[in-house]
């Protein structure tokens, strides 16, 4: 199977400063529209100390939900949606050529049945582990997968910070990253 989806055009929305004195400094917000699902999607590129962006996305209709990153839309067009989000990385590299990128593959929740996916190997993580090496080579980035917490790190080979420093920073910022309380 190839992953040759084109994705949709990203529209820059705004840059938001984060003023909570955490290592999360600011966020670039983008959006795109899927004509297949007929939904807008929001992509957040959250810039942290150690020159790392955490890339997050959700369906705009769920913006007020606590579980916006965990819901399953189930209307298809997954390849183009994921590719649209991935396209934010070359955009950001223009202004931040030494930036690294990380992805936390959220646990899916089923609010009706009150069930939630396990932490390890979430279905999103499996997709990221397949898709990211298909679209991002090993020249610019080191690829690191974190199976226990379903996270993926693209560490820029020119990054001044070590992988350990990035991990420590994220560990301190996202203390309850995978915790879900339904």
């Amino acid at each position: 199977m190839t992953f040759d989806f084109q994705g949709y055009e990203l529209k820059f929305v705004q840059k938001c400063r984060c003023k909570d004195d955490s290592p999360h400094l600011y966020t670039y917000i983008y959006k795109f529209f899927s004509p297949v699902t007929c939904y807008y999607y929001v992509v957040r590129a959250e810039y942290h100390e150690e020159n790392v962006f955490a890339i997050k996305f959700y369906c705009k209709k769920d913006k007020r939900s606590d579980y916006k990153y965990s819901k399953i839309i189930n209307k298809g067009d997954l390849g183009n949606i994921i590719m649209s989000c991935a396209k934010v990385i070359p955009l950001l590299l223009r202004d931040h050529p030494k930036a690294s990128f990380c992805f936390a593959a959220s646990r899916s929740v089923d609010l009706k049945n009150n069930t939630v996916e396990d932490y390890r190997h979430t279905q999103r993580f499996k997709l990221y582990c397949y898709m990211i090496p298909m679209k991002f080579g090993a020249v610019t980035f080191e690829h690191h997968a974190y199976d226990e917490v379903s996270c993926y790190l693209l560490r820029n080979r020119h990054a001044p910070s070590s992988r350990k420093q990035m991990e420590t920073m994220f560990r301190n910022v996202y203390v309850n990253l995978s915790e879900v309380n339904l």
Partner: protein, 62 residues
């Protein structure tokens, strides 16, 4: 008549039913997890790219 909830109709049967109940799975603290990353070696990335596309893959970033 199917007993599957209406909102799961498009998913494969059992996909959601395999998930653990929230009470067994919601207490893990990220800060307490042993963060063990594994580097995917460049040669493995190249192998995957060639395997899936026959070498005609368009990368977003090399």
């Amino acid at each position: 008549m199917s007993t599957a909830p209406k909102h799961t109709a498009k998913l494969s049967k059992g996909q959601r039913l395999n998930w653990p109940p929230v009470k067994d799975s919601a207490t893990l603290k990220f800060s307490e997890v042993a963060i063990k990353g594994r580097e995917i070696p460049p040669i493995e990335i190249k192998r995957r790219q060639q395997q899936s596309s026959g070498g005609n893959l368009t990368l977003l970033v090399p």
